[in-house]
């Protein structure tokens, strides 16, 4: 057992905290939201300089050979300030797919570019009809003259608007829900036949609906083994769950401290509302939930590299449930204890609330993962 950070991790945490303290005040964040892509390209370059963008990649690919704990630290810090940049989409999701399934040519072509901040990627897997079912893929890929032709549509592709390259899943054989028969492709977002429509999510981050109509890609666009991408998709999603769990912990910390501050300063009936025991208890419960969430986010991070797939899946599902429930409790009560002011767009707490809400509905919600766990009870 060891929950201590090593020297490098502490340095990473400190320098990132300093960068974000300087650049991610709530008002500054508004200006990033108002940028064309809804995030800051300038900060993205700074993340590259700090080494964040190559964190999980091998040094031979311009990375730093970091692990899940490092990603956890970064995501927690991002959660505290509600960072808008496409780190999850590019480094965590698409990055994991490349790292696990890419061949040497693909990795050495793309990972250094990601690390240098020169390439934004998105993971285009979810489909309109699938809800949370990972193997529900009806987008098809058919062989044609040495390459492939893709047809179908991808839904709620995070940062699909900014991405130059998309990691697209498509079915090469089998039926709608089969885990076999799915392949990942690297597709240029400007490819002929690919159309994107952009929109903001409820938390202000951007996403896209993507349609593919006879999109041709070459044979070397295949990422990993043909027809055998499901285990990779599973691991990408696990990495996404671990990362957003940490992000939610950061967001919970922020809500907890904002609420605490408010309880001490807001006066009603001639005294701070924090004098009321019912609110003291509620704040204590929020802290307990935050700590539950933190433990579960650590579980997720520390389990990501567990080789036993069943055990990994089990722990990740537990973490998703624990963090989902914790962040809902903290977020709902953060608004409640603020009263009317918590309901306003001008005040930060509602933005944290919505980020946690969006995280809850990514990669399977609490009910989805609880039912997966229930299936394993014997």
């Amino acid at each position: 057992m060891d929950f201590e950070l090593n020297e490098e991790q502490r340095l990473l945490e400190d320098s990132l905290a300093r960068l974000l303290a300087d650049h991610y005040g709530f008002d500054k964040r508004r200006t990033y939201l108002a940028e064309p892509e809804g995030w800051s390209r300038a900060l993205w370059s700074q993340y590259a300089e700090l080494g964040l963008l190559g964190l999980p990649f091998a040094e031979s690919h311009g990375g730093f050979g970091g692990g899940p704990t490092d990603i956890m630290l970064v995501m927690e810090a991002f959660g505290r300030v509600l960072a808008l940049e496409p780190y999850l989409a590019t480094v965590v999701l698409a990055g994991t797919a490349l790292r696990l399934a890419g061949n040497e040519t693909q990795k050495s072509a793309m990972l250094p570019q990601i690390s240098a901040g020169e390439m934004i990627l998105a993971f285009a897997h979810g489909e309109r009809q699938a809800r949370y079912d990972l193997s529900d893929v009806v987008t098809t890929a058919k062989r044609r003259s040495g390459g492939w032709v893709l047809d179908g549509a991808k839904s709620v592709v995070l940062h699909g608007d900014s991405a130059q390259q998309l990691v697209v899943s498509a079915r090469v054989s089998g039926q709608r829900d089969d885990t076999d028969g799915i392949t990942l492709f690297l597709v240029d977002s400007g490819a002929t036949g690919l159309a994107r429509r952009f929109y903001p999510m409820r938390d202000g981050t951007r996403a896209a609906e993507i349609s593919l109509s006879s999109v041709e890609v070459s044979a070397d666009a295949v990422l990993g083994a043909v027809g055998a991408a499901f285990p990779v998709i599973d691991r990408v999603v696990e990495a996404g769950i671990a990362a957003t769990a940490a992000e939610a912990v950061g967001a919970m910390e922020a809500m907890q401290s904002m609420t605490l501050e408010y309880l001490k300063t807001r006066q009603q009936f001639g005294r701070p509302i924090g004098d009321y025991q019912v609110l003291q208890h509620r704040a204590s419960e929020m802290l307990m939930e935050l700590e539950r969430g933190r433990s579960m986010a650590m579980l997720a991070a520390m389990t990501l590299e567990e080789p036993n797939a069943a055990e990994r899946a089990h722990n990740i599902a537990m973490a998703k449930v624990g963090v989902g429930q914790a962040s809902k409790f903290v977020a709902q009560n953060a608004i409640q204890l603020h009263g009317g002011i918590g309901m306003t767009e001008e005040y930060a707490v509602g933005h944290y609330f919505r980020r946690c809400m969006v995280i809850e509905h990514m990669f399977g919600d609490t009910a989805h993962h609880l039912s997966r766990l229930a299936d394993t009870v014997s």
């Binding site: 709620v156 429509r197 409820r202 608004i335 409640q336 009317g340 306003t344 969006v358 009910a367 039912s371």
Partner: protein, 401 residues
């Protein structure tokens, strides 16, 4: 003891259903079904249709333009209206200012305002809360100083719902800053929103909508004749207003309608390779909500039937029970609808649609609207007296603690 409705009550319900079926405009019904917040236009249109029938002022006695219904009939009306689903009549007009004028107003005030409130010719808003006076409403500072036959108001209100639509505002103002008890220096005034010196500033809420406002008063002149009740006795009026109406508080019809909508939508969505409606976890959650709705429904009927016999017009601490439980259910049922949509509930499709109105729909509007109303209804446990304050009332007034 008999849980069944009487034959007359059942016939009454049928009459309402038939009327709603034949008279609720299809486009309004569809917008409500998809979960949109009713627009001002839809609210006005529907309330006027109801008013032609004599039903808009559903809780008022006949002599003032209401249908003279019993509390049980009012409850049935509200539920059927919510289940239709139709826009709800303006609470400010019908359950707040109307009953206040009937109870405390002068005959002149009643003649002038009641028919217009029923027909929503005047859109009313409620100017109670202030930045420093939320749960502690009696801390309000907005001052009204007498000047001849007028009051002159200076100060600020906040969280004033739909003030930007409003023609009139009923306000609590401080008329005696020196009163021994804070509650004794407050008066209840009717303010024409067109009076010079009033500024309305929007507050955007976390659901992205403009519902809330700040209202600033800068030397706003209000004739003395627009005070309701005696000077410095406005607190009694406010207490009556906040506590007298119990049938509407729980909004059970709305919760029922949301569960029904979520069940229907769950046939179209998937979980673990089959329709969500077949998912055991989902079914349990729905079943639990239906148990909770049923329990509150019976409690509400008990309260309403007791109301039939006694306490007419007096505040009842049991309204706090209905408020807390009703808002918890409203929040849980809108959350259910949002969760059915899953990832499709997270995009804010509408923003894009507004910009590109000739494009096909980006994604299911109902899912985005479910999330919008989930977000807005976080406020249901805050407005009208927070749920913490409601529990304080129960512990003091019911439990004697």
């Amino acid at each position: 003891m008999d849980l069944r409705y009487t034959a007359e009550e059942l016939a009454f319900r049928e009459e309402l259903r038939a009327f709603f079926r034949d008279n609720l405009p299809a486009d309004i019904r569809e917008r409500m079904r998809l979960g949109h917040a009713p627009s001002k236009e839809d609210t006005v249109t529907w309330q006027r249709i109801l008013n032609r029938q004599g039903w808009a002022a559903y809780s008022w006695p006949k002599e003032y333009g209401g249908p003279g219904w019993s509390p049980v009939q009012r409850m049935i009306f509200l539920e059927e209206n919510q289940l239709a689903p139709a826009p709800e009549v303006s609470g400010f007009n019908i359950t707040m200012i109307g009953p206040v004028l009937i109870q405390f107003g002068t005959e002149e005030q009643r003649q002038r305002f009641l028919p217009r409130a029923a027909n929503i010719d005047d859109w009313w808003c409620q100017g109670f809360s202030e930045p420093g006076a939320g749960s502690d409403l009696a801390a309000l500072k907005t001052a009204a100083r007498r000047d001849g036959d007028h009051y002159v108001i200076n100060g600020q209100k906040i969280w004033t719902s739909t003030a930007h639509h409003a023609d009139w505002c009923f306000c609590l103002v401080r008329t005696d800053p020196h009163a021994k008890k804070r509650q004794e220096g407050i008066s209840f005034l009717l303010v024409d929103m067109k009076t010079p010196g009033i500024t309305v500033r929007p507050i955007i809420s976390i659901d992205g909508s403009h519902h809330l406002n700040e209202v600033f008063f800068d030397d706003v002149a209000v004739p003395l004749s627009l005070r309701v009740g005696e000077e410095n006795r406005g607190w009694d009026v406010a207490k009556f207003l906040l506590g007298h109406e119990r049938t509407g508080i729980a909004r059970l019809g709305k919760s029922k309608e949301r569960v029904k909508f979520a069940r229907d939508a769950a046939h179209e969505m998937r979980a673990n390779g089959r329709p969500l409606i077949e998912d055991p976890g989902f079914r349990q959650r729905v079943a639990q909500l239906e148990v909770d709705i049923k329990a509150l429904e019976i409690t509400q009927m008990r309260v309403v039937c007791a109301h039939d016999r006694s306490r007419e017009g007096r505040p009842d601490p049991l309204s706090s029970v209905l408020k807390v439980k009703g808002t918890e259910l409203l929040q849980a049922t809108t959350e259910l609808a949002m969760d059915v949509g899953g990832p499709l509930s997270m995009p804010d499709w509408a923003q894009e649609l507004a910009a590109l109105s000739n494009e096909p729909e980006l994604g299911p509007v109902w899912a985005a609207e479910a999330t919008r109303s989930y977000l807005f209804l976080r406020a249901a446990s805050i407005y009208g007296g927070t749920n913490e304050i409601q529990k304080n009332i129960v512990s003091k007034a019911v439990l004697g603690l």
